[in-house]
């Protein structure tokens, strides 16, 4: 059998080179560094290091502070994802029905999208400031003994609230465009087939939004895992007593504040594997139920 061999040209490789270089420099190389560092134990001054195999992994993952952070991350991510999706969906469905002043209304709802997470955190700080914060006062006047500096649940409430608020606008935009992508006549056909708007929503609208919802779920989990770092860093900084420390924040704390490069690298490798596993689960089990 004769093989047809085309002459290889360097041009296609040059075309994809910029993307490959970016991935290599900003993802592959740091990831490799993290894996390498996670096997090293460095002395306090960073002058020498020794190869310790999996010691860093056992030390960090076994520690109570890591387990606490992992527990909080799971609860926090679940809450942020579900709440920001649900609220955004509700707002999008309602905004989609608005006819008069629809544009203004939609623009106002999208506004928070332009705010960076640390800024959102700073705004939250102001609103929950024990001396001048309106929300702090409000929570206390309606009967809660609210103090997020001391109470772990109150602190959790604050970071979840700010994270959800920040993310709702992004989800809102996607849900709204998803809703507008449903043909008008399909909605009308449903109107003739089913009287209850509640049942119409769950049997027609929601299944047709499934691709959007799935996409947003992946985005939101990533957001809750990683991007909320900025919010936590500017509000609670993991306090009180590590109650609002997420895994990413702990990587930062241990590595940059605690100068434990090895331990922090081990944590980030574990985090990377967790997110990898989560993504695989999402695509294998949930995407199957999505009709595009």
């Amino acid at each position: 059998m004769k093989r047809v061999q085309f002459e290889h040209s360097a041009i296609p490789y040059m075309f994809i080179a910029p993307q490959i270089i970016i991935i290599a420099v900003f993802f592959l190389w740091p990831a490799a560094q993290a894996v390498y560092q996670s096997f090293l134990l460095e002395d306090a001054f960073g002058l020498s290091s020794q190869f310790v195999w999996f010691k860093n992994y056992f030390d960090t993952i076994g520690s109570t502070s890591w387990l606490q952070a992992a527990g909080f991350t799971i609860v926090f991510s679940t809450l942020v994802t579900i709440l920001s999706l649900a609220i955004a969906l509700l707002l999008a469905v309602k905004a989609n029905e608005v006819i008069r002043g629809a544009r203004t209304y939609k623009t106002l709802l999208m506004w928070a999208y332009a705010i960076a997470p640390p800024v959102a955190g700073l705004m939250g700080n102001l609103m929950f400031h024990p001396l001048i914060g309106d929300l702090y006062k409000f929570m206390n006047t309606i009967g809660f003994d609210f103090d997020h500096k001391l109470d772990p649940y109150d602190a959790g409430f604050v970071v979840v609230l700010i994270s959800v608020w920040k993310q709702v606008s992004v989800n809102f935009i996607f849900f709204l465009s998803g809703l507008q992508g449903i043909p008008k006549s399909v909605n009308e056909a449903a109107l003739m087939d089913e009287k209850s708007s509640f049942r119409r929503f769950w049997t027609i609208t929601f299944p047709l939004l499934a691709p959007t919802t799935f996409f947003l779920m992946v985005i939101n989990i990533t957001y809750a895992f990683f991007e909320t770092f900025g919010i936590i860093d500017t509000t609670t900084r993991g306090a009180p007593g590590g109650a609002t420390t997420t895994l990413v924040f702990k990587v930062f704390q241990d590595g940059f504040r605690g100068a434990d490069i090895g331990g922090s690298s081990a944590q980030s490798v574990v985090l990377m594997l967790m997110v990898l596993g989560l993504t695989v689960i999402q695509f294998r089990f949930i995407e199957r139920k999505v009709h595009y």
């Binding site: 006549s185 399909v186 003739m192 087939d193 009287k195 049942r199 499934a210």
Partner: protein, 352 residues
Amino acid sequence: MARVDLKDVRKTYPNGAEAIRGVDMSIEDGEMIVFVGPSGCGKSTLLRMVAGLESVTGGDVEIDGRRINDVSPSERDVAMVFQNYALYPHMTVRGNMSYGLKNKGLPKSQIEAKVVEAAKMLRIDDYLDRQPQQLSGGQRQRVAMGRAIVREPKVFLFDEPLSNLDAKLRVQMRIEIKRLQRRMNVTSIYVTHDQTEAMTLADRLAVINEGRVEQMGAPMELYSNPATLFVASFIGAPAINLIPARFDGALQAGSMSLQGFSDLPTGVDLMLGIRPDVLTIREDGQFKMNVDLVEQHGGENLIYGSLDGVVDHEICLKSGQSVLPAIDDELTLGFDPATSFVFRTDTGERLK
């Protein structure tokens, strides 16, 4: 099995635009009514008002004597077939057809039986477990009809259901819809802008123009006895020949003087209407035409040309396949004044 009554039905939008300006109509049990008119005339709006997808801002819509203005679409006992099928993309054909019945709370076995029966009737029973996107346009259209049929509604509403199909399929589906409607004997309202569809499907035709019914009647009645200039020009393909004229004892059209007309007002602009199929080529004809195009349709030829003496006025003549004049030939045409119509140009009113 129902009659539909529209009593001075009106639709005015909040911005003051009047879409429907008072429509009175009685549709008898089992009748197939076609709303026909140019785009933007309000025919679809009127249909959607019967469906409940547009609010009624004046007058009453009644089904079997029950006023349904404020009844929700799902409780009006009507079913609609949409132009772009409007199938639920995430459901199978079976799911699409049974959705409405499920919501009504029918037992499963009964739903299944109805779906299978309707699917057999429409010859889509092999596709019941497929998704709509796996079907061709014609099959989707059948599913959309199946979805309407299984509900056994009092009234079928069709909103230009064939306009997304190719020409051949359109003719085939048109015949099928007619057959189905005859067989099921369900009162139907069908909206189209295609006058061939309108003529062939309708028991009675309602020609709608600017939110009003210009004329309603059997297709042939509208063809041979149009009430207005608009109806005459809208019904019939090829379109009626309209020649501007004035009356002073004889009908003056350009440099021609046509005899055989009487009792017409003088001093107003008139329009003489002659159907292409009543024009004949004969030696002693009333006017001359210069041929500039011949379309051969197989069984018949359509001869187009300019009318001698009337500047820039095109005229069309339908003739047998053997009549095949050359381009630039001059033909002498004649017609019997009794088969022609005369309208007032300004009001569109028919005078003769």
